[in-house]
């Protein structure tokens, strides 16, 4: 299968290893992976800010460069949700673009749901230790991602998954919210860090880099220098992706 990997602007800038891990996993699943060279950002920041015009421009740009692919895979629940659920709604009044948005939406998957759908796929990596999984909001409530990453992770040899309490509770990231209302955001992520600390796992794992940066940033500030904070793709792909 020839598919497009949409790495997302945050992975591009903040953690390229998540992009390379995704690439390796998709190739391991037997896919021919193209990284469309014009991709930048899905436009979610503009949409969230309530600035429709640039959000629409960036949506159209993304649709134009991704629609030729049989499948588009995104290592972020939040960006996948934006493409799949928000684009069609945003462009609903424009018959041509609405059709194109719906077509792309139907072909777009978040990475864990895509991998979980591939028969016989098992992660190439091993992981020595316990992890706990944080469900990011957009993936969980927008796309219904819950069991997929867990299923994939459970098959990693050496890995044991220990759930934290309130794993579905928001981490307080919320994009611009985390900067605009920094103190509120910190208060929320502090509670998340407390539940992570209760589990005492070697790593906290999730599927959205924004949330992971938020959690890691707060853990370190709280003085926890050892709990690793990883994207599930990094765990599944292993090594120095």
């Amino acid at each position: 299968m020839r598919l497009a990997l949409y790495v997302t602007c945050l992975v591009d800038l903040m953690r390229p290893s998540v992009g390379f891990a995704s690439l390796r996993l998709l190739e391991a699943a037997g896919c021919e992976v193209i990284v469309p060279s014009g991709q930048t950002c899905c436009g979610q920041p503009a949409w969230s800010a309530g600035d429709r015009a640039p959000a629409v421009d960036l949506a159209k740009k993304a649709i134009a460069e991704l629609e030729e692919f049989e499948q588009v895979v995104v290592p972020s629940g939040s960006c996948a949700d934006h493409i799949r659920n928000v684009y069609p709604q945003m462009l609903a009044d424009d018959p041509e673009w609405s059709a194109r948005a719906n077509k792309l939406a139907a072909r777009t998957s978040e990475l864990s749901e895509f991998l979980a759908r591939q028969p016989g796929f098992t992660a190439p990596a091993a992981f020595d230790g316990t992890i706990t999984y944080h469900d990011s909001c957009k993936g969980l409530r927008g796309l219904g991602i819950k069991h997929q990453p867990r299923e994939l992770l459970r098959k990693v040899s050496g890995l044991s998954l220990q759930e934290m309490s309130d794993c579905e509770e928001c981490c307080g990231f919320g994009g611009a919210f985390s900067v605009k209302f920094g103190d509120v955001s910190t208060q929320i992520v502090d509670r998340k860090c407390a539940t992570i600390a209760e589990v005492g796992a070697d790593a906290v794992v999730g599927g959205d880099l924004g949330c992971l940066l938020n959690i890691e940033g707060r853990l370190r500030r709280r003085g926890d220098q050892t709990t690793r904070v990883l994207h599930f793709a990094e765990v599944l792909a292993g090594g120095d992706s």
Binding site: A49, G50, D57, C137, R141, T186, I188, G217, R220
Partner: protein
């Protein structure tokens, strides 16, 4: 929009900063949250025992509320006619000031000097207690939470648990002062005794007040009935003991039939407190008839618009389905970081972040629609499926359309979006940004003070894993 003057919603940012730094408040909130969430979850899980199912019930509730809103004028006319037929008087108020005028007028006509109150959010919208006091009528809140909040000279911080922000020690101090006794050391085991103490004080008021003021959870059109859903029984005292009973409620609270009310009741208490049914459900229809042993001699309905009619047919109409269960705030990470007072007006949490700008003016509550992480925990639990995050988003767009966002924010966004449409240029900037972040982060791999986003690094580090972007590494790899 007469109530913009009472709203403090423009000070959200500053109030929020104060609330997150208040350890007493934080303790109270952290204690309450798991109770709310746990009770609702249990209540919903038990639906199956009664052969019910959440999504199906939800759809039924949505349909009922939508049916009312589609022909609200007709249902209101039916209600008015039926209520009058039972001997009640039906009055209409456009805004809070009119509510106050009407209540004071009724009070004067009946020589009222004291009014007992059971919970009414509309009376908060109208600042009725202040108006009554100014008119020489003493308002006495009788819901335990409202009583506490009134003693403290505060506003409720939650729509169903008005004093959730108070610790037991704060309540003890208030009671000791009001009830003229020394302060004692209290634990949660003393709560029943404290409630009894308040009840004894309130009993005198129930017996001596000439007027009772209540809200209504629903108005039933076919019977002209007001429904009160409560847990403390004070509502019954307020609505049956005084000679005059005034019901103040929003025009959107109508439901067509008793059957519809029964359907909504399946989800209201479960969403609010996890109860299958609340301790008291009162259906109040008309005035005392010959042979009745209790009930008011006079019942007055004050049906209030205060911004509601403007939402009919608008992009925000869904909000009028709200049945005020409080589930949205009970599941909101922002609410539980701040409590209700930070929101600055009557309604806190997600429903407040939508209602406050709509009822007091979008320009008077600029932060509220942005004070959300977009987690949609609210939308997931709302029993009438109100898409709260979408409505907040619509309000953000309205702010942009009306030029209410700071120009610097728009400039940044537009410049960023302009660049993001030009991949080569975007790559160039991203590479520079990665170098810069990498340099700031140093060997530690994290930034502790970041001038471009101080809000982030005030409470968190910014982890930086690489000073190269994915796309430049990928291009290099492909060349190799």
């Amino acid at each position: 929009m007469t109530h913009a003057k009472h709203s403090q919603a423009m000070h959200f940012q500053a109030r929020a900063a104060e609330k997150v730094r208040n350890p007493v408040l934080q303790r109270a909130l952290q204690k309450a949250k798991p109770l709310f969430v746990g009770k609702r979850a249990k209540g919903m899980a038990a639906l199956g025992e009664d052969g019910l199912e959440f999504e199906g019930l939800r759809s039924a509730c949505v349909d009922i509320r939508n049916r009312v809103l589609a022909d609200l004028d007709v249902w209101l006319a039916i209600f008015e006619e039926r209520a009058k037929a039972t001997g009640a008087e039906v009055l209409w108020a456009r805004d809070g000031d009119e509510i106050c005028d009407l209540v004071i007028d009724v009070a004067r006509r009946h020589g009222v000097t004291k009014a007992t109150k059971s919970k009414s959010m509309l009376s908060e919208e109208a600042h009725l207690n202040e108006a009554l006091a100014a008119a020489g009528i003493r308002p006495v809140e009788t819901d335990l939470g409202e009583y506490i909040v009134q003693l403290a000279g505060e506003a409720p911080s939650h729509i169903i648990a008005p004093a959730v922000h108070k610790t037991i020690h704060e309540v003890e101090e208030l009671f000791a002062k009001e009830h003229g006794r020394p302060i004692e050391t209290r634990t949660s085991a003393d709560i029943p005794a404290m409630a009894r103490e308040a009840r004894e004080v309130l009993r005198q008021h129930f017996l001596s007040a000439e007027m009772g003021i209540s809200g209504a959870n629903f108005l039933i059109a076919e019977t002209g009935t007001a429904v009160l859903v409560t847990n403390e029984g004070n509502g019954r005292m307020v609505t049956t003991l005084p000679k005059v009973h005034v019901v103040i409620t929003g025009i959107e609270k109508l439901v067509p039939t008793l059957e519809d009310f029964a359907t909504l009741m399946r989800l209201l208490p479960r969403s609010a407190t996890g109860q299958t049914i609340s301790n008291y459900v009162s259906l109040l229809t008309g005035t005392r008839q010959p042979g009745d042993r209790d009930g008011p001699e006079k019942t007055v309905f004050i049906l209030v618009d205060n911004g509601r009619a403007d939402l009919l047919g608008s992009a925000y109409q869904d909000m009028l389905r709200c049945i005020r269960c409080g589930a949205c705030m009970n599941h909101c990470p922002v609410y539980f970081s701040l409590g209700g007072h930070a929101y600055g007006w009557v309604y806190p949490g997600p429903m407040g972040s939508v209602l406050t700008p709509l009822y007091t003016g979008i320009e008077n509550a600029l932060d509220l629609p942005h004070a959300s992480t977009g987690c949609n925990q609210c939308g997931t639990v709302c029993p009438v499926r109100i898409p709260l995050p979408s409505l907040m988003h619509r309000l953000r767009e309205a702010q942009t359309e009306r030029g209410l966002r700071p120009w610097s924010e728009r400039l940044w966004l537009r410049a960023w979006a302009w660049i993001a449409r030009r991949p080569a240029l975007y790559r160039w900037f991203a590479r520079r940004a990665a170098r810069y972040l990498g340099w700031l982060a140093g060997d530690e791999g994290r930034i502790q003070v970041f001038g471009l986003a101080p809000g982030w690094t005030e409470g968190r580090d910014l982890p930086v894993a690489s000073n190269r972007t994915f796309h430049e590494l990928y291009a290099a790899r492909k060349r190799a």
